[in-house]
């Protein structure tokens, strides 16, 4: 770099990294708070870095609260939603991309329409439906409710991924005598795999983070996921356990952190394929 470029680069770098740090400061603060001992937490003025690092809040969270139970519910809930949505979505998207039948284009736009529907409209009838069918207050009821936003999104993503796969290979397999489904499994699926993983990652995150349906549809500890669970567990009208809450918040973000570290590329790819390009 020339001298002039250096002089220009310094303020740009400083500004960019200052903004990045400010933006992620709440998350750094969350981690710092979760490892501070209780007496340091309520010190005025607050210490920026913990003077003594402790994991007692994590220990208390895991041993003395139903945190792990809620965590497990969230794992089951998000995994089932992801699997269901992927199976149905992959087949549906393949159909929307490669087959021609009447109403196909309209169907694709309808998928996008349903994706934009507010859950506040759907939640009350869904609540009544779950009561009627007799699966209210269960993880299954949440899986069903989550398909309302996860399936349209997955379909839309998978559709744009599959549209990018060249038809030639598939045609070649068909010429060689493969059946349509055989060609789908041997040729299309492997090529669509990155897109499928992207979709899975996205679906898992939105299901993991979902709060509104969980709030309305599940009112029992036997099925409560983490998002609503941490509140019933740690926030009462008299007392908010901040140290435990911050530890819970960190633990709750673990799957996300894992995805960020190992599957970052799939996340960005999913972004590019979602409904942003007009």
């Amino acid at each position: 770099m020339t001298r002039r470029a250096w002089v220009r680069a310094i303020p740009v770098n400083a500004a960019a990294w200052l903004i990045v740090l400010i933006v992620i400061f709440p998350l750094i603060w969350m981690i710092l708070t979760s490892v501070k001992p209780q007496d340091e937490l309520i010190r005025i003025p607050p210490t920026l870095l913990p003077q003594n690092v402790t994991f007692e809040h994590y220990q208390e969270l895991l041993e003395d609260t139903p945190f792990l139970k809620y965590f497990w519910h969230s794992v089951v809930l998000s995994t089932s939603t992801t699997l269901l949505v992927l199976v149905v979505g992959v087949l549906g998207a393949y159909s929307l991309v490669r087959f021609s039948y009447r109403g196909r284009e309209k169907l694709a736009l309808l998928v996008l329409f349903t994706y934009l529907l507010p859950s506040a409209v759907l939640v009350l009838p869904l609540y009544l439906l779950m009561v009627k069918v007799g699966i209210a207050n269960s993880i299954a009821s949440l899986v069903i409710a989550y398909t309302t936003f996860a399936l349209p999104y997955a379909l839309w993503l998978l559709r744009s991924f599959m549209a990018g796969i060249p038809e030639d290979l598939e045609s070649a397999a068909l010429v060689d005598g493969a059946s349509r489904l055989g060609a789908f499994i041997d040729v299309v699926l492997p090529q669509a795999l990155p897109g499928i993983i992207s979709t899975a990652v996205f679906t898992f995150i939105v299901a993991w983070n979902e709060y509104f349906y969980a709030l309305v549809l599940v009112n029992t500890d036997a099925a409560r996921p983490l998002t609503t669970g941490v509140f019933t567990m740690l926030v009462t009208s008299f007392n908010i356990e901040w140290s435990l809450l911050m530890a819970a918040a960190v633990m709750m973000s673990l799957p996300l952190i894992v995805i960020f570290v190992f599957l970052q590329g799939f996340l960005t790819r999913g972004f590019a394929a979602s409904g942003v390009k007009g």
Partner: protein
């Protein structure tokens, strides 16, 4: 497709194969359609139906009131108050998201050190659970031990701790700011992707014509971003308008009803006032407003699809 059809003709009559393929296509989409009917079409129709009844939530018993719910909703003025709150929240947070999002995208498009790390870190607020985000912010907002008040007091910007969420207009401003913080990365990603496809020759040409940095942004970058920004604004309008979690968890709609947007009213009517019919009426009213933006977005996307 022609190759496929030709290949088929060698084995069996083309027409029956075409029909067979059509059938297979329908078969593959069938589970999707069934699920959509059960969890989207039925609830949608049912929501309209429910809005014509007066239903007591705990027993789910109700009676027909026709358009009575809507009459009460509009004449009491509550709908308009909530709609006004909703518009203020949406417009405020969206404007900040776009301005901040474009700004940060331009910065991250520069040649900075550890650029890809910066780009992934900036995404974190968007993907982190709203529950986590709200917990952290409420802890930082804490009036006694909160770090924000401490900073402001130490810097002598204020001389009394600020009540961030308990009074107006602070509560609305706080909610708008946190909404902007949470969702601006969406704008960053969309804009960054577009920035990378702007041909460098355009900037070269502008430079030769003697355009400064500001006019290059104004005359080259911004026109190129117009399309993607339009789509982003429409999408984010829809999403911000129907936001529930963030506002409900931060303020619960308070103080009083000062930050109570339409989704929060729906929830309060159904489970606070036990008036499920009335809640449905509010949800339908909200959907009608949203349909305008959904139509604009879908026709935009539909046009893009036709072009492709």
């Amino acid at each position: 497709m022609t190759v496929v059809a030709l290949a088929g003709r060698q084995r069996s009559p083309a027409i029956s194969l075409q029909r067979q393929y059509g059938l297979l296509g329908v078969l593959l989409i069938a589970p999707t359609i069934l699920i959509f009917c059960a969890v989207i079409v039925y609830p949608l129709v049912s929501a309209i139906y429910l809005s014509l009844f007066s239903i007591y939530t705990p027993t789910l018993q109700g009676h027909w009131v026709g358009l009575g719910n809507f009459q009460e909703m509009f004449s009491s003025g509550n709908f308009w108050v909530a709609l006004r709150t909703n518009v203020i929240w949406t417009a405020g947070t969206l404007a900040l998201q776009v301005i901040f999002g474009v700004g940060v995208a331009l910065l991250l498009d520069q040649n900075i050190v550890f650029r890809s790390l910066a780009r992934s870190l900036i995404l974190f607020p968007y993907f982190v659970s709203t529950v986590v985000a709200v917990l952290v912010w409420r802890w930082m907002f804490n009036d006694v031990y909160g770090v924000l008040n401490h900073f402001l007091l130490a810097a002598h910007i204020v001389d009394m701790p600020i009540d961030w969420l308990g009074r107006m207009p602070n509560a609305m401003i706080s909610v708008i700011l946190i909404g902007a913080w949470k969702y601006f990365p969406f704008v960053v990603i969309a804009v960054l992707a577009r920035l990378q496809t702007i041909p460098p020759q355009l900037y070269e040409a502008a430079r030769i014509d003697g355009a400064g940095a500001w006019s290059r942004f104004w005359d080259v970058t911004l026109p190129q971003l117009r399309d993607v920004l339009l789509v982003v604004v429409l999408l984010r309008t829809i999403w911000d308008f129907k936001e529930f979690d963030l506002i409900y968890l931060l303020t619960g709609g308070g103080p009083l009803v000062a930050t109570e947007t339409l989704p929060l009213v729906v929830y309060k009517q159904a489970f606070g006032f036990n008036a499920m019919g009335m809640a449905s009426a509010y949800s339908i009213g909200m959907l009608l407003v949203l349909l305008v933006f959904m139509y604009l977005y879908l026709s935009r996307i539909g046009r893009g699809e036709a072009r492709a």
